[in-house]
Symmetry: C2
Subunit: 301 residues, 2 copies
């Protein structure tokens, strides 16, 4: 079933305690789309500037991403981000943000995309997410991501968004900020009360927590030994999850849990190298193999 | 098979953001022993002062704890601790510590305890743990806990201890301090290199990680909605784990994982009330029932 993601494409410069990558491909949209592509064809709605390097298009091609909705905007510049990971490889500082085309009009959704059945609204201003959501009248599954900035500055629009989506994906500090609850189980219940049928709270190296209509599920992360670059972990997690769900007839709790396990595994590959590098090297077979290994890791019967 | 724990008994005063408990029974030894008692008879080696309130002995009786090794030392005072949990109910500040009897000679191990087959050396100075360990010549399973204080101040003794025990249980910040690794998978491998066959790294609300001879296991914590008092969570976790293992013929990876799941569940009950209160209200049946519920929570097949 068709899957679409709306989000950002960026040029990233990433510093880690031991290495650095300059001007590499990044942004929520490409991490999501690459991850989802192992499970389902995927469409993107995003904008880049006329400075967007042609060589990066090879990545879209490799993952067979439908780029009809990738707008190369004349007179605009591509979003740029630079960040530095601290020694724990979990916390990071933003060194530079140049919104560029992300600060302009939303990209246009091609007419041919309006029949999309599964929609992921990657993190952007909730007013923008609402405007995009309206363009997919036939969607059967709409999931959004958000962040602290919008919780703090656009709470009304965010609440409207929450009343219109099926699922929300956010990290633990954002869930605490949104609900005022430091206990993530309590926070997840409060989010369900705000509208979504399910919420996924991401906890980085600790895994994630699912609340589906009040019923809890928890998954520990894959025990990753070599973390090179955590950038895109959350987006590739969401991509793996949504890619799997796009193929499910019923979006029930069982399907979502399986989807979260797949998201966990794709993210565990993604962090093994800078940018999209590691995802370009693996196949669905590698993902299934690691999922089996992970299932062994969490057994206690 | 016989199980023994050496550790502290204390009188605690605990402040949480919403409540307070004064002069309640605490200490690693009693949390461990109460938790273990659901699975196995348990012996304790510990010392209290002559001020130890007689009413607390009822708790030992309820859990059928063998108190031959509980020394009530004339002229001494019981260990006292006061602490305050922060809003997240995970971090805490120590308000007061009165070592009292814990700062004196080690308690004497009764002759009748020297045949103990399963030994847990709860957190104390590693020199003390080494001295106690020597008194159980027939032990087939020796597991120790430690803390940042000893990693910083008694590293040589701790290294000797690590070469003589089968398992180590410690929390994530302690594992990072001990190994210089912020990645817990890497830290666990370094600890295995120091001697133990297995290490369990506790991550509080996030669960735990097992490294058994290089093979990894991970368990998310039980998704607890109502946390009243986290004191003793780690000790009741270890007690549930060791109580289960005391009944296993083979201490292999499978047995340890099952033991960790039981530890997870006992700890999840323990934090639902102050001191030992919640453990006095439950039965082995309640533990098994919640284990089944937890097993459902982590499924993704």
């Amino acid at each position: 079933m068709s899957l679409i993601v709306t989000g950002s494409i960026g040029i990233d410069t990433i510093h880690t305690p031991t290495a650095r990558a300059e001007n590499v491909l990044g942004g929520s949209c490409i991490y999501f789309a690459a991850a989802a592509s192992f499970f389902s064809p995927v469409r993107v709605v995003c904008a880049v500037g006329e400075d967007f390097p042609e060589e990066h298009m090879a990545v879209f091609e490799q993952f067979k991403i439908d780029t009809q909705g990738l707008e190369k905007r004349a007179g605009s510049k591509t979003f740029r981000w630079a960040g530095k990971y601290l020694d724990n490889m979990n916390d990071r500082e933003t060194l530079d943000t140049q919104l560029n085309v992300l600060g302009e009009d939303l990209p246009i959704v091609p007419e041919s995309y309006r029949d999309s059945r599964n929609v992921f609204l990657a993190n952007t201003h909730p007013a923008g997410q609402l405007a995009l959501l309206e363009q997919f009248p036939g969607a059967r599954l709409i999931v959004a991501d958000t962040m602290d900035l919008w919780i703090n500055t656009a709470n009304d629009e965010l609440n409207t968004l929450l009343s219109k989506i099926h699922g929300l994906v956010l990290n633990d500090s954002e869930a605490a900020l949104l609900t005022g609850e430091s206990n993530m189980v309590a926070a997840s219940h409060k989010i369900i009360d705000l509208g979504p049928k399910f919420v996924v709270i991401k906890k980085g190296e600790h895994g994630c927590l699912l609340n589906h209509k009040g019923s809890m599920g928890v998954l520990h992360a894959y025990p990753a030994l070599h973390v090179v670059d955590p950038t895109g972990a959350g987006d590739s997690f969401a991509g793996g999850m949504m890619g799997y769900l796009a193929n499910c007839d019923d979006i029930d709790e069982r399907a979502i849990r399986r989807a979260l396990a797949y998201g966990t595994i794709v993210a565990s590959f993604n962090i093994e190298a800078f940018s999209l590098q590691r995802l370009t090297e693996i196949s669905r077979h590698d993902i299934d193999q690691r999922l089996d290994e992970y299932a062994e890791c969490v057994r206690f019967d």
